[in-house]
Amino acid sequence: MTITATSSSLRARNRYLAGLLSARGIAGLALVSAVALAGLLAPLLTSADPLAQSGDALAGPSTGHPFGTDDLGRDLFSRVLHGIRADLAIGLVAVPVAAAAGCALALLSVSSRAADVAVQRAFDLVLAFPGLILALTITAIWGPGRLPVVVVIALAEAPAFGRLLRGAVLVQREREYAVAARVGGAGRLRVLVRHVLPNAIDPVVVQIATALSIAVFIEGAMSFIGVGIRPPEPSLGSILSQSTSYVGTHATFAVAPLIAVTALVVGFTLVAEALNRGIRQ
């Protein structure tokens, strides 16, 4: 019955790692790191200045501009590459913060009836506020810039994490192993965090991939209404939202940022699935 004896001990010890090292996981990681690297190595990959404007606006792809130019004649390839940095920086802070906050609140929520009511209603409240209002308010307090973008994203996404985890915990904590942990003397908190949480985390892992793409959209929407990353600094979201007005007439404008966002989403989705498969098998 010791059927895993043949697999490598490293993989056997860490199933997340095992999942990550599956074909799916490696493909996902490769995709994500390709995008991330493209962002980090932007100055090496293109000599075009992402801020340099020219009279040649809304041009289609050409040798000089592999993805064409934007409405102010700036090179889209360069802008998208540089934009990736901004989004990774924001997404990689905001999404984990949202996930952590959401999960913490979910755990609080399942630990007592009163806390549950309070937390769930707080989620309702936050979710009910349209992003626009949230963004405007937060910016009114902090002023425009990256911090409010991170805060808005974290705030907007935390409830999703919280709700998902809460649901999963409610199911998992009735399982026998959780009862066994309680009998073993583990306190409520320990049972929750150490035993139930790792078994309930799957949907959270899936949500992270989704959250990243939403983060890009929120960032873009905020830049769009002038409370996000300041122009002319490029970001995937802001390029996407600028392209809004030109989707019908100059579709190429939207293509470059969409490729980057799609690659990120696909990549993270693959990673999430690989992780979950790793734990589940």
């Binding site: 019955m1 026998e176 003397g185």
Partner: protein
């Protein structure tokens, strides 16, 4: 078996091979099994855990999990090869001509469907009647398998049933369409003797009246002896012996069969009798050795055994066996010396009891979609005492509240009323700190070794958990203690880094025991710790518990269905019935001179194992 006999067979299995993919290699779980089953026949399949019994049963209707494949051979049902059949043809066969009862009733029922819906689904799949008539039949079936008050419980969900009740529901599902062949994989493991008796009677009657052929996969040799006309012994994916039951059980030809029989506990054996296991472990199905798989554990092994696998050869009396060493093996292999415990343990009735339960009541709010409100009374005024160093066996009907009692004692459930006193201190009055200290002293081994281990933790972490929870030792000390505990329960300390899914049922149960022992409790509560295990592993675990109890001076509360096991391990036995303790007394006394009528019924229902010596063999 003659050619004519084969032609008449309802189910004919020839040269069946089953493999599971695993990493780079494959697990060859079933390797060339032949057998046939005529209409109305009864066949028992026995064998050690992991010998491929369930896999064989599942492969008959191509229900193999996780990429498992039939890699060779055929399964002919009335001449139609199920191995080659299309999905729809198979679907029509499943549940209607060939029905199955699965091994693990806990997970085999859908938690979101009510029992009634389960039964309805089973009948609906084969177009039986309309909704109304199906419901009527469902009620009838539930009554048939002995669920009390079916009308009231039909709309309940699986989690509202006790383990035994769930098992009965599983059986009712299999019977729903009056199948030609019923394959039952450990159908009675979770049942008490009376219910088991009831189920067995049901199966027998079914077999007699409707001619349903029966394949019974089981650990319980007693059940085989009672129900099956033929028996097949499996080892390492192959059949090592088969033949008429009484012949195989009295005159085993294969040393493994002999070992298995020796490990069976007998109700007649007095309290304190040590069980006999088979030393060693089964062969690794991923890397089967040349020759006979039993060689490493066989006291009779010869050179020939190592080189070439013995074929299954028939002898004159219809018994076939696969052993080079011919002749009946009327000895036991690898026996541990039968060691009576001799001096009865320290249980001193006059000493202050460790645990005292008085008038304990526990009710569950009735929940259900139908809006039923009246509560379920699980414990109805239970009185018990447990002395230091004593083993108290608890037996009783399924659903009589044994698990509830156990869970209440370890403070998973809050008692509805009544008192639990530990070392003379009232539990409910204890301060949080005392409660925590008490919690450390009372530990539990769970019935289900699969679901009670956290699938995402390593074994080392699982065992260390109670230590951490009670703040015992630093990291290094804990690692040491975990290693010691693993050794104590007979596992290699190196396995600490593995996850539970990499262990067999018996091994998992040992892990559960190690976890329970970790905080050095003074009371160990075992809720059916062995009912999922085969006899040889059961012997190992029961012996382990006995040893641990003796070495550590624990008080043991041992819940089980198998009266024979309970009698041998316990000093005293308490019999539960409908939430009450109806009888307590010294183990031998309860088993030989029962006072309460229920106890008598219970004892009367225990199937006798094969005659313990050839002398009892009927001609």
């Amino acid at each position: 078996m003659t050619a004519a006999g084969r032609a008449a067979a309802l189910l004919d299995v020839r040269g069946l091979h089953v493999a599971f993919p695993l990493g780079a290699g494959t697990v060859r779980a079933v390797r060339g099994v032949d057998f046939s089953l005529g209409a109305g026949e009864t066949l028992g399949i026995v064998g050690e855990s992991g010998s491929g019994k369930s896999t064989l049963a599942l492969s008959l209707t191509r229900m193999l999990p996780g990429g498992g494949r039939v890699t060779g051979g055929s399964v002919l049902l009335d001449g139609e090869d199920l191995v080659a059949a299309g999905e729809e043809a198979l679907r029509r066969v499943r549940g209607s001509r060939v029905a199955m009862v699965f091994q693990d009733p806990m997970a085999s029922l859908n938690p979101v469907l009510s029992i009634g819906q389960h039964l309805d689904e089973a009948m609906r799949a084969h177009g039986r009647g309309d909704r109304r008539s199906r419901r009527a039949r469902a009620l009838e079936l539930l009554g048939l398998v002995g669920i009390p008050d079916p009308a009231r419980r039909i709309d309940d969900h699986p989690h509202q049933f006790s383990g035994g009740m769930r098992q009965r529901v599983m059986i009712s599902l299999a019977l729903a369409n009056e199948p030609d062949v019923l394959i039952a994989d450990e159908p009675t493991t979770a049942l008490d003797a009376t219910v088991q008796d009831q189920i067995l009677q049901l199966l027998e009657r079914l077999n007699r009246e409707t001619g349903t052929a029966l394949v019974l996969v089981t650990h319980d040799i007693g059940v085989v002896a009672r129900v099956c006309r033929r028996v097949m012994v499996m080892y390492g994916g192959t059949v090592v012996e088969d033949g008429p039951t009484e012949r195989v059980l009295t005159l085993p030809r294969h040393p493994y069969t002999a070992g298995l029989l020796a490990a069976v506990p007998r109700l007649e054996s007095p309290s304190g009798t040590r069980l006999l296991g088979i030393p060693g472990s089964p062969p690794d199905p991923a890397a089967p050795a040349e020759g006979c798989g039993f060689t490493p554990r066989c006291p009779l092994a010869e050179d020939r055994c190592r080189e070439q696998a013995p074929p299954l050869t028939a002898s004159a009396d219809g018994v076939r066996s696969a052993c080079w060493v011919t002749g009946p093996k009327d000895f036991t292999v690898g026996r541990e010396p039968a060691d009576d415990r001799g001096a009865q343990p320290s249980a001193d009735p006059s000493a202050t009891p460790l645990l005292e339960v008085t008038a304990l009541r526990k009710t569950f709010p009735g929940r259900g979609r139908a809006g039923r409100r009246d509560p379920v009374v699980a414990l109805d005024g239970v009185d018990l005492v447990l002395h230091p160093g004593e083993t108290l066996g608890i037996v009783g009907e399924s659903g009589s509240g044994k698990s509830t009692l156990a869970r209440t004692l370890v403070q998973v459930y809050e008692p509805t009323s009544g008192g639990i006193r530990f070392r003379g201190r009232e539990l409910s009055a204890a301060s949080p700190e005392t409660a925590k200290a008490l919690r450390r002293e009372v530990q539990m081994v769970f019935q289900d070794p699969f679901s009670s281990l956290n699938p995402r933790m390593t074994v080392g972490q699982i065992i260390a958990e109670p230590l951490i929870a009670h703040g015992l030792g630093d990291r290094a000390e804990r690692a040491e203690r975990v290693a010691a505990l693993l050794r104590q329960v007979g596992l290699d300390p190196d396995v600490a880094g593995r996850h539970p899914h990499a262990f067999s049922g018996g091994q998992r149960q040992r892990i559960g025991i190690a976890r329970a022992l970790a905080p050095e409790p003074s009371v160990l509560i075992c809720d059916e710790p062995v009912s999922a295990l085969d006899v040889s592993v059961q012997a190992q675990v029961v012996n382990l518990l006995t040893d641990v109890q003796r070495d550590l001076g624990l008080a043991l509360l041992f819940i089980a269905h198998d009266l024979a096991v309970v009698r041998q391990i316990s000093h005293r036995i308490a019999v539960m019935h409908r939430g009450q303790v109806v009888e307590t007394g010294a183990a031998d006394q309860v088993c030989t001179r029962p006072a309460h009528p229920y106890t008598r019924t219970l004892l009367g229902a225990v199937p006798r194992t094969a005659p313990s010596s050839p002398k009892e063999l009927r001609p």
